[in-house]
Subunit: 432 residues, 2 copies
């Protein structure tokens, strides 16, 4: 299952087959990944997945098992070429955790036509998924301010997408994940609270026994644990929790009801019981708007699930992978509504000396940077792959997380708003 060569569309392979008998197959091409627009009303996007693209490239190999599938519709020449396939080109792109806007050249693949076209589906799958999750998660992290978010949405998305979602959410600034595979694979801190099933499990012939459940939890996990207090009656649940754990209890979690009202009630009750340090975790269909609406409430930690792993209304980033240059000649589709700009592009972001960004400038690669009227510019593309191998000094997950943190504070103030609106900064094309 580690092999990624068949995470590809049928037509990529037939296009290679049709190309191989012609010079086109081996022409030097440039492919670009970009999003024509941001999801409805969003002010910015967050790049994520680039690191996974680089990892999966190494597993993009056609072995005997993969070839057996392709032999159904490929000739011997194509099969022979695929057997030897190793991506040998260069890739540049926006680093993970970089903000992006409509048209941003997020990834630039330089390779022969045949080598490059074959990667379209895999690259887009990864970037479209991971960037959608990171973009939604970043809004939630902004809305939460200094309060940490635990990502706990694994059960609401595909089991493998869940792992990548945890990774993307971590880039976006989420504090921890419930997903253990993400902890193993990516080192994302894992965390958990308690389940209703656990409390319900202590039901005996005499009925429920919440205190027995809480006592068992404390016995195994210590008083620093988080108790789920809303299985039966919340007020009784909080009383039971503190009775059993004492006022040093780490946290209580509320997973249903009017979370704002309940958080205030529970805070008052905890304080009256002397548990002034016991934190309140809230969860239950939270999205960035619900998080923001709880700003004034005594909430310490948010648990976010469904809305995070489904991109909060935008489950895919809508990025496309387009051939933009063939042997140095810009090319572009001309059909209505889906036009794109030919030619390889370089992107910089221009900021005031204060650090606030003003615009993204996209110009033809190789051309001089246009006049930026005294603004400070920063190159957005970095080397990711050189001659098929990962470039040196690639940023890691922690770098990506830090980079996004800096990026978000560089947005004009309205750019962090949750309300629908235009991209936070305009994109200026300077294409000769």
């Amino acid at each position: 299952m580690d092999n990624t060569a068949l995470l590809t569309d049928h037509y990529e392979v037939t296009m290679v087959r049709a190309a191989l008998r012609h010079p086109i197959a081996h022409r030097k091409c440039v492919f670009e990944v970009f999003a024509r627009r941001l999801p409805d009303g969003r002010r910015y996007g967050v790049v994520a997945g680039t690191g996974r693209v680089i990892d999966e490239l190494a597993r993009f190999r056609f072995g005997d098992e993969e070839i057996a599938v392709l032999e159904r519709f490929c000739d011997a020449e194509t099969i022979a070429w695929l057997r030897d396939y190793r991506f040998s080109g260069d890739i540049d792109g926006y680093r993970e955790g970089e903000l992006y806007f409509p048209g941003s050249p997020i990834l630039t693949v330089r390779a022969s036509f045949a080598e490059g076209v074959l990667l379209e589906t895999l690259i887009l799958s990864i970037l479209n998924h991971d960037s959608a999750i990171a973009s939604a998660a970043a809004r939630m992290v902004s809305a939460a301010g200094n309060r940490p978010i635990i990502e706990m949405g694994s059960r609401r998305t595909h089991e493998r997408a869940a792992v990548s979602s945890s990774r993307a959410a971590y880039i976006a600034g989420v504090a921890a994940t419930s997903n253990l595979e993400a902890a193993r694979t990516y080192g994302v801190p894992s965390a958990g609270t308690a389940a209703h099933a656990f409390t319900l499990g202590f039901t005996g012939p005499d009925g429920p026994d919440e205190r027995a459940a809480f006592a068992a939890q404390i016995e195994a996990l210590g008083v620093g644990t988080t108790m789920l207090v809303d299985t039966y009656d919340i007020t009784a649940g909080v009383r039971n929790a503190i009775d059993v754990a004492g006022p040093e209890l780490g946290a209580v979690r509320i997973d249903s009801g009017d979370l704002g009202v309940l958080a205030r009630q529970v805070r008052d009750q905890l304080d009256s019981l002397g548990a002034t340090g016991t934190k309140i975790v809230v969860s239950g269909d939270l999205d960035e708007y619900a998080i923001a609406s709880l700003r004034a409430e005594p909430v310490d930690i948010y648990g976010v699930g469904t809305s995070l792993v489904t991109g909060s209304g935008a489950p895919t980033a809508g990025m496309v992978y387009k051939l933009v240059e063939v042997d140095g000649t810009p090319v572009a589709k001309r059909a209505s509504h889906k036009e794109s700009r030919g030619g390889a592009k370089t992107a910089v972001r221009a900021a005031r000396p204060s650090g606030t960004i003003v615009e993204e400038i996209i110009h033809r690669t190789g051309d001089a940077l246009p006049d930026t009227h005294g603004l400070v510019t920063r190159d957005l593309q970095i080397p990711l792959v050189r001659s098929g191998e990962p470039a040196d000094d690639l940023p890691n997950l922690s770098d990506a997380r830090d980079h996004l943190g800096r990026g978000l504070v560089s947005l004009p103030w309205e750019g962090l708003g949750l309300s629908h609106g235009d991209p936070a900064v305009p994109t200026r094309y300077v294409l000769s």
Copy 2:
């Protein structure tokens, strides 16, 4: 990566840890998977993923690598128990391709508390994803009538979710997928057309050369292929395609613009060129509504991407996994808004003699079936796992597809409508 044991939430493991020192860990429990409601306005849901759940159970094992992650927060007793973990319980459930409604007991897991609680995340991830895709795809297949749909959305979703999406879409009646891994793993027929990049790749110093691209495609793939005619000018593209391929060309594809208007123009042009048998494939942001709106147009095949793999507005099915019985005693959470009904449940669907279904009846397992007033009933749950092993004679993918076909024609006529509304049939609870 085949191991699935860590596709689990941190708290499932800590709950096991807290339970192990108490009788609860080994009590006979029943867990149920159900959806409290259908996505907004949907009339029915389609179960998918059950077969994958059974497959992944066999890979849910804690080996040395998995244990190394858990040792960070587990004691020796828990680790020892996890090392020996083999699910040894029974699972019954709705077959893949079965319709479901709010409250339908889609999966029933009978096991000790500890064995059962550990599977919550994996089971929900699979069922929530696959059922969301199948439910959306079934609406598209209905809207398309007798015209086939090719699923080509892999690039818009996580690379592994893409494979499962193809599988779920196939259950829903989609004819083929672009995804080669789905062809390998599940035997879903794969299909492809042509890429804009291919046509653009034939750009030379003298400019574009669409005819050269088409000729190369015919040379490799034969006249039965599908030509993408909207890279430059569609009318010129159709002319070039027939000039090069002759009137026996298999199909042309239109991927942009007003698809209804263009389909009519292209049909007229093809017919005037004698290519009366050349089919028209349309694609480009199609969902069930766009498909329905093209009913009167001369479209032969739909290519559907984004909306299918993202569940057309409902990317997760919202199913939950709840402990409903402990040692024969029904248990249920009592908190507001998230109540559930305790006790193991049996479900039947009642139909008129004509086959049209009238209601779903859910009663306590073991109780006699309530009066159905002369309606014909069908049991909805089948044995899926017995003592931890797959049950005999499990339905395969093709069975699931056929089963859904029969299910859809059993819906009252308004149940197949695309408009928002109530579930197609009511659910009647008869719980003593």
